[in-house]
Amino acid sequence: MIIVSFLVALLAIGVPIAVAILAVTSWLIAHSSFPFSLVAQQTFSGLDSFTLLAIPLFILAGELMNSSGITGSIVNFANALVGQFKSGLAQVNIWASFIFAGISGSAVADTSALGRVFIPSMKASGYPPDVAAALVAAASVIGPVVPPSIPVIIYALIYPVASVPAMFLGGAVPGLLLAVGLSIYLFVFAPKYGQAREALPIRERLKAFLNAIIPLAMPVFIVGSIVLGIVTPTEAAAFAVFYALIAGLFILRSLKLVDIPGVFIRSMRDSAVILVIIATVSLANWLLTYAQIPQNIATFVLHETPNKYIFLLMVNVFLLLVGLVLEGTSAMLVLVPILAPIATTYGIDPTHFAIVVIANLMIGLITPPMGLCLFVADSIANVGILRLTRRIIPLFLVEVAVLFVITYIPALVTWLPNQFGY
């Protein structure tokens, strides 16, 4: 209890998460019979994985696509599809997020890239800026659920029982449901913003599709090659980088050679911030497992919870509360080693449970005070977190409703992986 209080105190005063975990675990190991070299050894082991290479490479592929200016072609394509409906630009925002999700795999990247396009243009079309920012943040939750998804790769590293291809396929329908849910909410409940316009002629739509074919093909290429067993996730990530380089330099011709070093630097720096937390949490998890803490919690939960439906309800409520104060990836690293084995004991499909956990923790990205997507959207719209929070509540409720639908209808997650033999 003292150790946990110490960790919480360090985190509360703003010590970086990785440093705080290292401080606590170093202190514990120094006061145990273990050799002190274990601190560095377990941190090193946490990084010593070929699968982990997929994370910086996927981040790099997304950055290269962003730098190539593909956002504009995605927006045009989404506009050609749904721009004529009520609150057309807001609908375009949601579906552009869905398409963009297949490229970046990160909600924060989606908020940043699409927020810069949509928040100013929605403001100019008569949308209140807090509505525009709330919508961009809420739609970005779709990103880490739809494949390829960085949280899926991290989940598979923590709990290898769930396979990456199965989770990639399992996330497709829930991601689509999130987009449909937000879209229906706007259609039914949202006031009419902006000017209505006629549907674009087929020729214009076809042109928008052709212009967006390069970014649209990327997720098909990545997920398809992994699911068909042609490449591993790491190899697929390297091919995705290669594809993004060729597309940006020679096809779109919007990426300049001088920009490339900067893209590599930003990608490795941003990946390192996630990777170091993975490494230090693997050290903490080793200690937790040695002290049999996950096993004790599992025994307690299995004894106290009558069935898997109550367990899933408890997990969802607990994770939504955790999402208020913990960043999604960090929460996953700490909690999945404890929760996933219990779910398996209850007979819950590992892919189903993984997608429920990922979707739940990613919804936490739009809940204050730790909602990273909220902060990014606010940094663009500059409306204040309080106003933004008020606007995001109905969108948050829509996403929670979708979460409960996928929780209690497992086939929505498992059907697609089952079709491919997973």
Binding site: P16, I17, F50, P56, L57, V241, A279
Partner: protein, 172 residues
């Protein structure tokens, strides 16, 4: 003094950023070459997996240090957001001092780790694992350097930050 330190700090930051980017370049080149070679020629470099993984580990060490110099490491601001700038200035210094302590402990641990486990020869490479495990020494020692620089800059700025912002024109 603070200005010289800031220049040094910025220099170190650029160095770590460049090394992080270079590491990712190596990782990408090796993984791609190995994959293509495997599919086209049904053979791949034995050392491909090790070099790319260790490239990422070094890249992570450099990237984390660069992020620290830029204040980009993931942290919670749930409490600090509600505190006064003066209290935050002191907490920032405490955080850097704690990072120095963690850096020292981690470097000692890393030295022991390399000493005890660094003699294994990596398959396909005529190198021992000590070269790769040394990334942990780089990380620990780097943390000491960057956190010390940040702490000294923080101490230099502390008196003015504790006094608070200067009153605007017209204010008493």
């Amino acid at each position: 003094m603070t200005r010289i330190l800031r220049t040094l700090h910025d220099g170190v930051q650029h160095l770590f950023l460049a090394l992080a980017g270079l590491s990712l370049g190596v990782v990408f080149a090796v993984v791609l070459t190995n994959s293509i070679s495997r599919y086209l020629f049904h053979s791949s470099f034995v050392w491909g997996g090790s070099v790319s993984t260790y490239g990422m580990i070094y890249g992570t060490a450099f990237g984390v240090l660069a992020a620290y110099t830029q204040g980009l490491n993931v942290r919670f601001n749930i409490v600090t957001e509600f505190l006064s700038p003066r209290v935050n200035a002191v907490l920032e210094l405490v955080s850097h001092l704690l990072t120095i302590a963690v850096g020292i402990a981690f470097t000692i641990s890393a030295f022991e780790f390399v000493h005890s486990r660094g003699r294994i020869v990596i398959t396909g490479l005529n190198l021992t694992t000590a070269y790769m495990q040394s990334a942990m020494i780089v990380l620990g020692a780097g943390l000491i350097v960057v956190a010390s620089a940040k702490a000294i800059i923080c101490v230099g700025e502390l008196p003015s930050r504790l006094r608070g912002p200067a009153p605007e024109a017209g204010e008493p």
